[in-house]
Symmetry: C2
């Protein structure tokens, strides 16, 4: 399918791709590049890839598929330092959680003779780094591929096949639609999780130990989400600020309505809210996006 694949960035997502494609069925050769010495040491120690590039230019040279699995705020620097070595017609994709801003980075660089098509595998855990990755991370999950009217159709098809090879299902979607839906399904829940944990802990320093101790009543589940990679989430909230702010405004309105129902002891209104949200869970389980006993897509021990 490819002569050479290059993975830039070898954290949870990059290393999971690497663990999955590490054979000759999909590409004659696979090269990885990561600027972190610790990450490179882990790749060597765990024997994840035999071609670890020393510099980014040799990493991308002759590659016909480059995958950016790096923080959103690093795209510009990585592209600037590697673009002169790109092979003609190289397919460049990514794994980032927001598309509009990084798409602007590509547009502003005005790169010719490349095919940039954004991807977003909706998969991950609250852990980060190459040791957290695993082969089946993408299995039965969705990957969103953002094609545009200018996208080369053959390349889109090739990228689709690539993600399917990793076990993922693929959905084509516009950049705008992607950023809106992800703000609802992922960025809103994360924003709120951070603020729940902050509220619970800051509320009363004197009860901190008690709050940790009795966290099994709900809080602990939010701390899982609120322990995701801080750098990644800083970039996501800033890159998708417009959608996130709009949705947080609506969320705040719903919280105000909810408070009103509690103050008025309006049990019927509360029951109505709870019944509707209970149904959503059923639909998610039916859609195969969760199981009754979730393992949160983690590595099986």
């Amino acid at each position: 399918m490819f002569e050479k694949i290059t993975i830039i960035g070898c954290g949870l997502i990059g290393s999971s791709i690497l663990r999955n494609i590490n054979n000759n069925e999909i590409s004659k050769s696979i090269t990885v590049f990561d600027k972190s010495k610790n990450v490179v040491e882990t790749i060597k120690k765990e024997n994840l890839c035999s071609n670890i590039a020393k510099d980014i230019q040799s990493a991308v040279k002759d590659s016909d598929l480059i995958i950016l699995a790096i923080p959103l705020s690093s795209y510009k620097e990585v592209l600037l330092s590697s673009k002169d070595a790109f092979k003609k017609d190289v397919l460049i994709t990514d794994t980032g959680s927001v598309k509009k801003e990084v798409n602007k980075v590509f547009e502003n660089l005005n790169l010719t003779n490349i095919s940039w098509i954004a991807s977003h595998p909706i998969a991950g855990t609250e852990e980060s780094g190459p040791s957290a990755g695993f082969k089946d991370l993408f299995k039965d999950r969705w990957t969103i591929v953002c094609d545009t009217k200018n996208s080369n159709k053959d390349k889109v098809e090739k990228l689709k096949k690539f993600w399917e090879f990793l076990g993922s299902k693929v959905k084509l979607m516009s950049i705008e639609e992607h950023d809106h839906i992800l703000a609802l399904t992922s960025h809103l829940p994360h924003a709120v999780a951070y603020n729940i944990v902050k509220t619970a802990i800051n509320n009363d320093e004197k009860f901190r130990d008690e709050i940790i101790k009795y966290s099994a009543g709900g809080l602990r589940d939010f701390t899982r989400i609120a322990s995701s990679d801080p750098l990644m989430w800083r970039d996501i909230f800033i890159d998708n600020s417009e959608n996130v702010i709009k949705i947080l405004d609506e969320f705040s309105k719903n919280i105000d309505d909810f408070k009103k129902a509690i103050i008025e002891k309006n049990g019927d209104k509360l029951l109505k809210i709870f019944a509707s949200t209970k149904n959503v869970r059923k639909e998610i389980i039916q859609a195969g996006q969760d199981v009754k006993s979730p393992d949160f897509g983690r590595k099986k021990n």
Copy 2:
């Protein structure tokens, strides 16, 4: 330890107690009462208890430990219909999530010759009903026992031993402290979970299918919490309204600060929030209240 234990209400919590104590080590006899025909049928079918009382008066008669495992809004009715049959000096406890209001119910009934000592096992899943219960639900979890200055010390000790027999750790605490801490660790997360799911779904009916499909990015975890028993949660929010409103106000302030940081693209402020919440999770794991790969206290298959 007891001559006769009576469990009123045989849902997730009541049936889990029943499954655990169903032998002669702790009590000579165990009686259960539930007003739902469906629940009684399940108890019979699953052979959970041989003494199923037909009416509440015979259920509590001669009992020296009565456990109320019923919705908070049912306490008054249950006590009114059973109080005339209470054995002298019976120990009455419960498993409810809020204490202040039900304590008032006891005070207003002015029952003499009974020992009312509230309990709250911090254990449960998002499921409900007797089939969802399991023997080890309380294992390594905390149970809060609310003693007051009037509590009979021997009875408090006996109740503590009872929960320890079920595998639970026990903490003594005042009613006020209990209701404050639970508002932070349990009622706030649940209130927010319902509102996240409501916001995500109501936002745009046209994207409903997409939102379900791509829920693996965070939303699905909140739908688990937001699918807990609606009746139970209606009662909790109304009974603990004072604490819940106060904490939701603080939460809303934190959300507003968070929005401000996003609008100002203040990455350092965002990173500071994320780093502090990441530490909380470490503390929870260290405190043994979660594992790196949580199973949410569910039944092992």
